[in-house]
């Protein structure tokens, strides 16, 4: 199958690269390690600055995929190794069993009988799922899967399925691909907030990460979209801690480029649900570049949202309330704020694990080389619009090789 393009990663950048290349007329194979496509953005409630839902764009992308026969994809698939040269790259891909085949109609009978409750990674463990479940309501493919870390193979689901869609004996497969070029769009993972020992994550339950906030605010999240403390109380005051691990040589030395805007966006979530809530955003520099400045201006104009220039370096619990401390560097006074919840704006870390044949830089981002083209956050930190620009450009670079 030489001449094809492989896209690694089925998040927004990978989908974009794959679809743009396929619509231009090239054969594309996309591999995604999760049992669903959509990646990180499918976990987000809304995008800044438009405050529109990521599902909207994903819906269109999925629709485009369905109408583009040149694009094939594998979920639950991981690239093990890349060898060869630009134009003739050999790729070994491991396809882990899904245990549920395309006969699945997503009727949900299996889930009803499944006796195993398991932590739901999609919701960062903020809720549970069944060992057989559908990853999300917008999942693509819209098909159940079995999480074999938890399934005890009791077989209840097999008997409940009317469509002969479950095969508990499905085995891992290794496939070999021969492609002309590879777009690496492996995206990012949230930086591990437990490493930020002065910010109380893991120590105080109401210190959460920005990604957890996205799930809390999402209609299909653990609380059905209600933002509340872990004790189920409403939010009266909340602090957003910028650069939690970003721009920090002890953690991620680079700026994650999105967190300022993401926190402002999340401030609007809180404002929408709690019109009287007081919101504090502690920052070093507000990086609302380009037209995103408009969004900053809009959020700044909200008198319930206070921006404090100074990094929070201490989060404590005093009499059951969280207290954050930062020096306001413009007034030279240490600011203490008592809040119900602290949201750490944790940064983006490249998600790719080392793969033989793909070179990474000192931060773990993918280095471009002939035939291997990083796209989106696999290349460097960026927001969704830039990731899609990057992915579209990557599609061109991939095509340049594939057409030869």
């Amino acid at each position: 199958m030489a001449g094809e393009i492989l896209v690694i990663g089925g998040g927004i950048a990978g989908l974009t690269a794959a679809i743009e290349a396929a619509e231009t007329g090239y054969d594309v194979i996309l591999v995604e390690k999760n049992p669903y496509l959509g990646g990180r953005v499918s976990q987000l409630n809304k995008y800044f600055p438009k405050l529109c839902p990521p599902f909207c764009g994903l819906e269109i992308l999925f629709k485009r995929m369905k109408s583009t026969p040149k694009l094939k994809y594998f979920t639950n698939a991981e690239v093990l190794e890349v060898t060869g040269e630009e134009g003739n790259l050999r790729v070994k891909v491991k396809i882990k069993p899904r245990y549920v085949n395309e006969n699945c109609t997503a009727c949900g009978a299996c889930k009803e009988v499944c006796p195993v409750e398991a932590p739901d990674d999609f919701n960062f463990g903020l809720k549970t799922k069944k060992a057989i479940d559908i990853p999300s309501i917008m999942a693509m493919p819209f098909q159940y899967y079995i999480d074999d870390r938890y399934c005890d193979k009791c077989g209840e689901c097999v008997s409940a399925c009317k469509y002969n869609a479950i095969d508990l004996n499905e085995e891992e497969k290794i496939i070999d691909l021969n492609v002309a070029s590879i777009v690496v769009a492996t995206g990012w993972k949230p930086y591990d907030a437990t490493k930020l020992d002065n910010l109380g994550y893991g120590k105080f339950k109401n210190v959460i990460t920005n990604m957890e906030m996205e799930r809390l605010a999402s209609l299909n999240g653990p609380t059905g979209g209600t933002i509340q403390t872990m004790d189920g109380k409403p939010i009266e005051t909340i602090a957003f801690v910028q650069c939690a691990g970003s721009r920090d040589e002890n953690h991620l030395p680079y700026c994650s480029a999105i967190c300022c805007l993401a926190s402002m966006k999340q401030a609007t979530y809180v404002r929408e649900q709690y019109p009287d809530a007081k919101i504090y955003i502690f920052y070093i520099d507000i990086r609302a570049f380009g037209r995103y400045e408009d969004f900053f201006a809009k959020v700044k104009a909200d008198e319930n949202i206070e921006f404090i220039k100074g990094k929070v370096a201490k989060v404590e619990e005093v009499d059951g309330k969280l207290v954050v401390t930062a020096e306001d560097t413009l007034t030279g006074v240490k600011n203490k704020r008592e809040v119900d919840m602290v949201v750490l704006a944790t940064g983006m870390q490249p998600a790719i694990e080392p793969i033989p044949g793909i070179e990474l830089d000192e931060y773990g981002f993918v280095k471009p080389k002939p035939g291997i083209i990083p796209a989106g956050v696999a290349a460097m930190p960026m927001e969704v619009a830039s990731a899609n620009e990057s992915a579209t450009g990557a599609a061109l670079k991939a095509i340049q090789v594939a057409r030869r």
Partner: protein
């Protein structure tokens, strides 16, 4: 406002070479267990140092409230190491306030090490030339080599000089840090935010008294987190000096009060016990500090300023113990060790106002100032 790039370079040369890395996030000010609520340090010192604002830094008492526990450097996201920068600033301040300034300039630089040792060596050689003392034979009795009176006379002379220079520096420093009007505030957490309340300023003598108590107890130093060892090492060195001071006083009482002829005291003598205890504290404390500087990267680069002081203390301890040991075995090498010991003690005392030793004065005054202006560590 004038920036002083030379000052920036000087501070970098004094061990603050990371200062330009700071991007003013103020993590340090919050992390620092010593830093007060209002105008906390060391964030502001970092930008003043970046801008070479010498005048502001010379007037800044805060840099003396830092004990370089390096909590700030540990958490600094930029690797700007505020702990080291403040240490460098303190060296720079000592240099600026010391009298005469040319001497300070020479003695504080690595290149000045020749002068540093040349002065006591020349003085010693001159002494030896004039008095031509002979190495006594038989039992080792130090006083037979160089009379105690000579030592004491020189000691008072050098000590007096050091005190005078230190007093000049102290006066300059005190005037400077008090030239900025500051009020005493207190913060109370009310509702969600803090409320600032003005308080009356306490009296100087009271502040000084409590500052000295703090110094003796190392109570501020005890707040430090990251480099806990520093507290213990410093505590030992500090109390080693005090114990040795008491022992020296005991020696003088023996010599002139009780008419003891010779100080070759038996090991069970209380003064000897004190002397040996002091030496042990000094040696263990300084030795620990030296080892830790090699083994713990968080403590940071040693600078000439640190090393000359630390190694002098350690060498004084070593030579002191050596004299005693050699005396017991009856080796005449004890006399040579004694000469080296004297030279080292000379550098310690005579250069005290130009060395890290001066921090004793500056820090005590800064404590006093901090108490009078309410710059207590925030809770």
């Amino acid at each position: 406002m004038e920036v002083d790039t030379q000052f920036v370079k000087d501070v970098m040369g004094f061990g603050g070479k990371t200062l330009k890395k700071c991007y003013q996030c103020a993590t340090c000010s919050v992390i620092c267990p010593q830093s007060p609520e209002e105008n906390p340090f060391p964030r502001k010192e970092m930008i003043w140092a970046q801008w070479g604002l010498k005048d502001k830094l010379l007037k800044d008492g805060d840099i003396w409230l830092c004990h370089q526990c390096n909590d700030c450097s540990e958490y600094c996201p930029r690797g700007a190491k505020p702990g080291e920068v403040l240490s460098a600033l303190r060296a720079k301040v000592i240099q600026e306030y010391a009298f005469p300034s040319f001497l300070a300039k020479i003695l504080l630089k690595p290149a000045g090490i020749l002068v540093y040792f040349a002065i006591p060596i020349i003085l010693t050689l001159a002494y030896l030339a004039v008095f031509n003392p002979e190495i006594p034979s038989g039992e080792i009795v130090i006083g037979n080599f160089i009379p105690h009176l000579h030592i004491e006379l020189v000691g008072f002379l050098v000590g007096g000089w050091a005190l005078l220079v230190a007093a000049i520096g102290a006066f300059r420093f005190w005037t400077a840090i008090n030239s900025e009007v500051s009020k005493v505030y207190e913060y109370k957490l009310e509702e969600n935010a803090e409320v600032k309340v003005t308080k009356a300023s306490p009296r100087f003598i009271e502040c000084l008294f409590w500052s000295i108590i703090d110094v003796l107890k190392h109570s501020r130093f005890a707040e430090c987190g990251t480099s806990k060892y520093r507290f213990f090492a410093h505590f030992m060195i500090f109390w080693g000096f005090i114990v040795l001071g008491v022992a020296t006083f005991g020696d003088i009482v023996y010599l002139y009060g009780l008419g003891v002829e010779e100080l070759a005291l038996p090991i069970t003598d209380p003064v000897k016990i004190l002397g040996n205890l002091g030496a042990a504290l000094l040696l263990v404390g300084s030795g620990w500090a030296i080892v830790a500087r090699f083994s713990d990267e968080r403590i940071g680069y040693g600078t000439y300023f640190d090393w000359i002081f630390l190694s002098t203390i350690f060498a004084i301890g070593i030579t002191g113990v050596a004299i005693e040991a050699l005396r017991y075995v009856g080796s005449i090498a004890a006399y040579y060790a004694y000469l080296i010991h004297l030279i080292l003690i000379f550098t310690l005392i005579a250069y005290a106002p130009y060395s890290k030793f001066a921090h004793l004065v500056y820090r005590t005054l800064a404590y006093t100032w901090a108490k009078s202006t309410g710059r207590e560590p925030s809770k």
